[in-house]
């Protein structure tokens, strides 16, 4: 119980500090980071890199999955010890990947999705031919 209380107290402080960052003006946050001795531009670009890296990682995963007819499940489980874990929304086969090293693994990569035909509407059907 005491542990949980400590958690909550620490969380309250840190969340307040997190929220306060959002209220800072552009100049204030740049000055604040500079005051810590860090290079704000370097830090900013590192953050942009983190965002780009996640985007690229998912792009690679989606390409591999779509080629086999699989699709990620938006409600899937995330962030296991070795990376992000998810499953095909249609057949449930597993897929895991890391954003840091772009590794992709899982049963979904073994072959085409057996359920994908239900979700693929082909051009001919859509155009009514």
């Amino acid at each position: 119980m005491a542990d949980k209380k400590n958690y909550d107290e620490l969380e309250r402080i840190m969340n307040q500090l997190a929220d306060s960052v959002l209220e800072l003006s552009d100049a204030a946050i740049l000055a604040e980071v500079t005051a810590t001795g860090a290079d704000p531009q370097e830090k900013a670009e590192r953050t942009r890199f983190v965002l780009r890296r996640s985007s690229k990682a998912l792009e690679a995963v989606n390409k591999r999955l779509w080629n086999l007819g699989h699709s990620l499940n938006p409600k899937g489980r995330w962030h296991e010890e070795r990376g992000y874990s998810n499953s095909c929304r249609d057949c449930g086969l597993s897929i895991s990947f890391t954003t840091a090293t772009n590794e992709i693994w899982g049963n979904a990569l073994v072959g085409p999705c057996p359920e994908s035909a239900q979700h693929a509407i082909r051009k001919r059907e859509a155009s009514g031919k």
């Binding site: 542990d3 400590n6 958690y7 107290e9 620490l10 969380e11 309250r12 402080i13 840190m14 307040q16 500090l17 997190a18 306060s20 960052v21 959002l22 800072l24 552009d26 100049a27 204030a28 946050i29 740049l30 604040e32 980071v33 005051a35 810590t36 001795g37 704000p40 531009q41 830090k43 900013a44 670009e45 590192r46 953050t47 942009r48 983190v50 965002l51 780009r52 890296r53 996640s54 985007s55 690229k56 998912l58 390409k63 779509w66 080629n67 699709s71 990620l72 938006p74 409600k75 995330w78 962030h79 979700h119 693929a120 509407i121 082909r122 051009k123 859509a126 155009s127 009514g128 031919k129």
Partner: protein
């Protein structure tokens, strides 16, 4: 890097990534403005279907029935948020459609648009193919996303990717720093529930969930374009960090990497070094209590910071702390700066 940039419109009206100046315009203006799409498709049924799909996603759509018209429209009306080109659009011979020419001018048009604007977001629709890898195209276009499934999920996902990548590129330095600090403080507030994850992990997951959420707006973390991108990501981080905390059980074993901590002077040490008892609960209690106590110790000579921290510890809101708005902001700044210094291993010599 080149591959990634290819998805993003970096035309001159936006800030050059890395500049310290405020963005022109900021991400908000992207959200507020109407998104535009150029659709090049000769099949009328498909044209209507894709136009409707794009409109449903909030795009103002211009259409062209062949590659020449598409290029002319692009030259006159670019930039577009996205250009969607059917792989099989025909070529005009000046009078009408040249049916003798190969009917695969979508690729030629994509190449021409790339020459005009290498970072224009383009999607090739190749709906007769079952596999994007089978769509013949030159090496320089291999990175272009290919729509092979006319289902809305796939199109929405490709559009979201282009929009999100574009939003990442126009984030200003200050917006990026806000995101980074927000993520770091959120993760620090989790204590052990972070399970060794960092602010970067939190931010990365917020973005991943945004992109995955594009496929099912009711289920994922779809980015509603009426919301500023920074605010969207912070909302996502708040929700994800809460979910991390819910998933954590206090009885989980410690990872070695979790144990080293920094004292008030910025020195790293292990909390188990000075524990007399080998009982796990003693170590656990020490680690968890340590962070909170150390923060209070750091600010022992700063009465306003102490007042604020104790107030927050007791569950008071900011306006109940007894500090006026200006003092409150200044105190928060001192706390943030000192905590950041401490994490960076820098020792603050001055009390305030």
């Amino acid at each position: 890097m080149a591959q990634l940039l290819s998805f993003i419109d970096t035309t001159p009206q936006f800030e050059t990534p890395g500049s310290l100046k405020p963005s022109l315009p900021p991400t908000k203006s992207i959200n507020a403005s109407t998104k535009s799409a150029l659709l090049v498709e000769n099949d009328e049924s498909l044209l209507n279907f894709l136009r409707r799909s794009l409109k449903d996603e909030g795009y103002a759509v211009r259409t062209a029935a062949n590659s020449e018209e598409g290029l002319r429209l692009y030259r006159h009306c670019a930039p577009f948020n996205v250009v969607l080109i059917d792989y099989c659009v025909p070529q005009s011979n000046g009078i009408g459609i040249d049916y003798l020419a190969p009917q695969t001018h979508g690729i030629g048009l994509a190449m021409a648009i790339r020459e005009i604007n290498p970072s224009q977001g383009i999607i090739i629709a190749a709906l007769d193919y079952r596999d994007a890898r089978e769509v013949p195209r030159p090496q320089e276009l291999m990175d272009i996303p290919v729509l092979i499934d006319i289902g809305n999920f796939h199109l929405r996902s490709l559009l979201e990717k282009i929009e999100v990548d574009r939003a990442i590129e126009v984030l200003t330095s200050s917006e990026l720093l806000r995101l980074q600090q927000y993520a770091d403080f959120r993760v620090r507030g989790l204590g052990r529930a972070a399970r060794g994850r960092t602010g970067e992990d939190l931010l990365g997951e917020a973005l991943l969930r945004t992109l995955v959420g594009a496929e099912a707006t009711q289920k994922g973390r779809h980015w509603n374009r009426d919301v500023d991108f920074v605010m969207h990501l912070t909302g996502a981080m708040q929700s994800i960090s809460s979910s991390w905390k819910r998933q954590f059980t206090d009885r989980e074993a410690y990872l070695i990497s979790e144990l080293p901590i920094h004292d008030a002077e910025g020195q790293e040490h292990s909390p188990v070094d000075n524990v007399a008892s080998a009982h796990a609960a003693a170590d656990q209690l020490l680690v968890e209590k340590d962070e909170k106590d150390q923060i209070l110790t750091i600010f022992k000579d700063d009465p306003e910071a102490t007042q604020m921290l104790l107030g927050l510890l007791h569950g008071l809101k900011k306006n109940e702390l007894g500090l006026d708005k200006k003092k409150c902001a200044a105190t928060e700044k001192r706390i943030r700066t000192k905590l950041l210094n401490r994490r960076n291993g820098r020792c603050e010599e001055h009390g305030r």
